[in-house]
């Protein structure tokens, strides 16, 4: 990405139109679950829909009754501290781990559906590839596994190398790659075949700042093209910059889900500088919630954002003078820590 960066490449289809394989509505005879009937590709359904998804390892509950829905074209952030169960959820959605209970649909098909996996790109948290293959060979292998038309392989591999910034290292053995280069290669592998859903599990854990910037650009490019991105991360600043909606997972339980605005809440903190603070003024302030002095400033905690103009109008109406109003938005990190503390 940082070498021959082409994050903007994602403003257009990855493999070009028509190079992806046709997706049959069902394939008879498979031992694994096959695609849903009547809605080829399940395009009318959410990208991900989980209901009471549960995973237990012995006595340890990794994921407890997770229910969530991720819409098509969304960048969905899946947040949580280390060990919260995020990767287990991702693996269940991809059919790599068997749920202990509950159910989930991915792209309109039951989890583990073999044909649906053709339309999913996955960058695992543990990104390792055959060390004895070179980067181009790894990508070609995944072209084969995706059963892309052979005539499209060269272009797909070249595009993927360009996006991952590995064009100059295409002939080098993966075993000699740094972790960052392997993660970039993983991204290239995940984006092969122009997937509808891209699942990124801690996608910037080994990247330098330039690589992280490029990753954000790529995610935004995917959103522009209507792709769904499921971003599993504990880097909250990253989620705050690119996600439309997020869910917060802790100890296997989803403790909050919604848009960033919903999650951060309608309640914010506002700093107000008044000309004078007399008795009538304090009565007005109290109507809007708890407040405290901070030098010349009055700080109101947890005031509804929509109420700030009413607060100003009330103070002025009561004969007061408002010199400054500074709304302070809660960061996702603050809210995240608050949510964890509340548990």
């Amino acid at each position: 990405m940082s070498q021959t960066s082409s994050a903007d490449h994602f403003a257009r289809p990855f493999n070009g139109p028509g190079t992806g394989p046709p997706v049959p509505s069902s394939v008879p005879g498979g031992s694994e679950a096959e695609s849903s009937q009547g809605d080829p590709g399940g395009r009318g359904s959410p990208a991900i829909h989980a209901l009471g998804l549960h995973k237990r390892y012995g006595k340890t509950v990794a994921v407890a009754s997770l229910s969530m829905s991720v819409g098509r074209g969304e960048v969905f952030g899946f947040l949580g501290p280390n060990g919260a169960g995020k990767t287990t959820v991702v693996k269940m959605l991809l059919g790599l781990v068997r749920p202990s209970g509950g159910e989930a649909m991915v792209l309109g098909a039951p989890i583990g559906d073999r044909e649906t996996r053709r339309r999913i790109g996955y960058l695992p948290e543990l990104f390792r590839f055959q060390p004895w293959l070179n980067a181009a060979e790894v990508l070609a292998l995944h072209c084969r596994l995706l059963e892309l038309p052979k005539r499209s392989w060269d272009q797909a591999v070249a595009d993927s190398l360009r996006v991952s910034g590995l064009t100059d290292r295409s002939g080098d053995k993966v075993g000699g790659f740094s972790k960052g280069m392997q993660q970039r290669l993983g991204l290239g592998v995940a984006l092969l075949g122009d997937p509808e859903l891209v699942v990124l599990d801690e996608p910037t854990s080994a990247l330098d700042p330039v690589g992280r910037h490029d990753m954000r650009q790529i995610i935004r490019g995917l959103r522009t093209r209507g792709k769904t991105v499921f971003l599993n991360t504990h880097l909250l600043a990253e989620a705050e910059q690119v996600c439309d909606r997020v869910a917060v997972l802790d100890k296997g339980v989803a403790i909050a889900t919604g848009t960033l605005a919903e999650l951060l809440g309608q309640h914010g903190r506002v700093r107000v500088k008044l000309g004078t603070v007399d008795g009538s003024c304090t009565k007005i302030l109290s109507k809007f919630g708890a407040w405290q002095r901070d030098g010349d400033w009055i700080i109101l905690e947890r005031i509804e954002n929509d109420s700030i103009p009413d607060l100003v109008a009330a103070i002025i109406g009561g004969g007061g003078r408002v010199e400054a109003v500074i709304p302070e938005h809660q960061s996702l990190e603050d809210r995240f820590l608050e949510l964890l503390d509340e548990r």
Partner: protein, 281 residues
């Protein structure tokens, strides 16, 4: 389905070539065959042996050399198969492959097929080289070289299949060690069974019989020995009544036994597929 199996099989073969396993085996085999050529040349042209003694000594020495090669084939099979699944699960390589539209059964059968092709290539090469060299320097060629090769390959394939099953659940090291240990135990149980037959001790005979069904490597090795023995050698040994010799058999495996061995392959391979399908990546 076939395409996906062949993709994994060709990947497995390419890995063995890239990791220089093929080159290492070829080099060590050439050295061993070269040494055996020298030994057989000395043995067959020794002035201290009569022609009759030489006619018995050369086949006996060939059986010993083929036993050594059967051990190399078995070790190689176990060493190749034990990390086939386990190391890729441990390293995370299987995460990206397993998330593709490929069945677990196709991954496993593809790996088994690729390893089987490698093993077949090695068994054919080593048998042809060794028997060809012995024929060239001493003029002795066993009665059924093709069947010997088939038994040698089958013995290795059996251990390969077992190691692959173990690899779906255990670490590479554990799968490899257990595979080799079971191979050694099965061979020893075969010797115990032979002693039991010679001295008419039922318990020992039963150990040999049961082990040949549980892990048929020794039974298949006996098949190889049977086809390595010339008629003259068999007549001489039978007249001496030397049944307890682990390098001599007077009958080949029955069809019933070979049918059981075929069933064993199917059972263990299906078991491997089921085990791998239930494995969480």
């Amino acid at each position: 389905m076939t395409f996906r199996i062949l993709t994994i099989a060709s990947l497995t073969i390419r890995e063995a070539a890239r990791r220089r396993l093929v080159a290492a085996l070829a080099a060590i085999t050439v050295v061993m065959v070269g040494l055996s050529a020298w030994g057989f040349e000395r043995l067959s042209h020794s002035h201290s042996l009569t022609s009759g003694e030489s006619n018995l000594a050369v086949p006996q020495a060939l059986i010993l050399f083929m036993f050594m090669f059967s051990f190399v084939v078995a070790l190689s099979a176990s060493a190749m198969a034990s990390p086939a699944v386990a190391s890729e699960v441990e390293s995370g390589v299987l995460l990206t492959v397993g998330a593709r539209p490929i069945r677990r059964s196709e991954i496993l059968v593809g790996k088994w097929l690729g390893l089987a092709v490698l093993l077949a290539g090695y068994a054919i090469a080593v048998s042809a080289l060794e028997m060809g060299v012995v024929d060239a320097v001493s003029g002795y060629l066993p009665p059924s070289p093709v069947l010997i090769t088939v038994f040698l390959f089958s013995e290795g394939l059996l251990l390969l299949t077992l190691a692959l099953l173990l690899s779906t659940r255990l670490s590479s090291l554990a799968a490899g060690v257990i595979g080799i240990a079971l191979f050694g135990a099965a061979w020893l149980a075969g010797v115990v069974g032979s002693l039991g037959s010679t001295f008419n001790i039922n318990a020992m005979r039963t150990i040999g019989s049961v082990s040949r069904y549980v892990l048929p490597t020794d039974g298949l090795w006996h098949g190889a020995i049977y086809h390595l023995e010339p008629t003259s050698m068999m007549a001489e040994r039978l007249s001496e009544g030397r049944n307890a010799d682990p390098f001599f058999v007077h009958t080949g495996p029955s069809w019933y036994y070979l049918l059981w061995v075929s069933a064993w392959f199917v059972i263990v391979l299906v078991g491997s597929v089921i085990s791998f399908e239930r494995r969480e990546l």
